[in-house]
Symmetry: C2
Subunit: 343 residues, 2 copies
């Protein structure tokens, strides 16, 4: 399996994550991908290439123009305002407030274009997010050109990002870009399966009214887990998208027996949907020792999950999402890929 990866990801390394009322070193940090790269090489997956330049056109098609302008200029506007820290949201359009009027002031704009305040935007964030999207685009192009599968080792991740909001460590929704690219390349129906511990709220939001892209997510119940305000089982899509959204929220302590049942159900739904291409939001924070999650999957479970996904035989792009147990993120992530290849 070919792997697409850009060293530009290093340009996104905030010093601060708001967690428990304190600033901590972000769980989503550059070293995560070092462990994945190390494990890939260890297991002989050595076809690792840098993507070409990012294709902005599909990003402009997917995202709100004001949001893209914000991502590109936020750091400079923030510094021009005299703020000493990194760009972090301190306000937001809450219930019953204006949700369609972006402020002029950068402090307000950050709130308008964010869905959480744990994630800081820095000087290099925009470049890193674009390089991450470029890896996703290159992986999709590789599969569209005939390969059975590819792995986009994306950083920063993407599944929490909507077309107009960042948060949960995500800025551009890589999985959504891949799904849209498959559609443009001729696939009539595409499925996105999100196995990250956290609900892929951004991806769901982007395709919620669409009948051509099926979204399924296995995740910690929103009552108990970030992003808290999306991911309920009764969110099934709207309009043309009714029935094309499937959430599998699960409770604290969920282990592989229950989780794999949800995986099989989701895969059966995807098969019934008639997907011609598959995008996997590949987070491995369902791992039992993940520091910010509460499922109980063990390392071999990821190998088995990869096999189940692979058994469906669909052209598949994997996009890296979360996974914060640094020592195991490489093993678990590559286990999914190896299981897929073994299927």
């Amino acid at each position: 399996m070919k792997v697409f990866f850009s060293e530009e990801h290093r340009r996104h390394f905030p010093q601060a994550e708001l967690c428990g009322g304190e600033f901590v070193t972000p769980f989503e940090r550059p070293s995560r991908v070092e462990y994945v790269l190390g494990r890939l090489k260890e297991q002989g997956l050595t076809d690792i290439v840098a993507p070409g330049p990012v294709d902005m056109a599909p990003i402009r098609t997917l995202c709100d123009p004001g949001y893209l302008d914000f991502l590109e200029n936020a750091w400079d506007e923030w510094k021009a305002e005299g703020f000493a820290g990194e760009v972090i949201a301190a306000n937001f359009p809450a219930r019953r407030m204006q949700i369609s009027r972006p402020p002029r002031n950068i402090d307000g704009k950050v709130g308008y274009y964010s869905l959480a305040s744990e994630t800081a935007l820095t000087n290099g964030t925009w470049a890193a997010a674009l390089s991450s999207a470029a890896s996703a685009q290159a992986a999709q192009a590789h599969v569209a050109a005939g390969a059975k599968s590819a792995f986009a080792l994306c950083r920063p991740p993407g599944h929490h990002a909507t077309a107009d909001m960042f948060g949960g460590y995500c800025f551009l929704n890589n999985a959504a870009l891949v799904a849209e690219a498959f559609r443009r390349d001729g696939a009539g129906r595409v499925a996105i399966l999100d196995i990250d511990f956290h609900h892929g709220n951004g991806t769901q939001d982007i395709f919620y009214g669409r009948g051509d892209v099926f979204f399924a997510s296995l995740h910690g119940a929103p009552e108990d887990a970030f992003p808290y305000f999306l991911g309920y089982a009764d969110e099934t899509g709207i309009g043309a998208g009714e029935g094309a959204n499937a959430n599998y929220p699960m409770l604290p302590g969920t282990a592989y027996d229950v989780w794999s049942g949800a995986l099989d159900t989701a895969l059966a739904r995807i098969r019934a949907f008639g997907a011609e291409a598959l995008v996997i939001s590949l987070g491995t924070d369902a791992y039992k020792d993940d520091p910010i999650s509460f499922f109980k999957l063990d390392c071999p479970d990821f190998l088995d999950a990869g096999r189940r996904i692979g058994s469906h035989g669909l052209p598949t792009v994997f996009c890296m999402e979360g996974g914060y147990a640094i020592q195991q993120v490489g093993i678990n992530t590559v286990n999914v890929l190896e299981g897929f290849l073994d299927a």
Copy 2:
């Protein structure tokens, strides 16, 4: 003029305010009221008394039960979760997310019940917020019993708090409690005039569908100033409240010539409305050297503003809101009261 003030306010003193991507000592701090108390005594306003116990019934009538439960227990739940810092929101129900499903997890509940992440909740916040509300209640009772006016030296302030969200340094909406108390005591129509630099989004939100309580606010334009997502001139009320909400957003650099024109217009609207009692959300952060605001009022302007308010002759309760230029917050606040008494 009788002043109601509780020493319990000291129990709310967060160490952290999220500002410019950093933690700073909160602008809204206990010493603010020391300067107001000092100036009151200097000017002979020495009838300063502690309120009686808070009356919970009107607070329960005004607020969402889940919100009150949250305020009371947030600190304990936060600490039980193992968080080391103060209670600060790191996530929130953003656009197109679930806005009617409070999470079980305290980290999610904080996001659900907040409208900004600059404001920390601490061990003593609930007690302080209740003591602040008690001062407002006592001031209203004093006026309802026949006094022409009273000053509730409230801390924490209240005008950003809705019936179900804290933020902008506010937890319980004192001005709204006073207005409701006037209604219960027989006033057919009540007006709230908010002269704090920031839009009184919480107060507006509480009365937006009501025709019996008129709300007017003079404030920094939402495009440029916190709370950013409410306070536009075209927000005029809804349903029975249509026409009973008047916003006067003004641009950076606005001085007293323009500001006083808006004040006169607001007072004329209140007179035309037929208010029988008046509540003033008394913030003095419109002052030219306020560290987080951008109007250009000078100290004597507050004296004049007080005169204009007083000339309407309505039974009036002043509730302390913002004002962060520590050296002048006493002078400016007491100037409004003295102007009122001179009218």
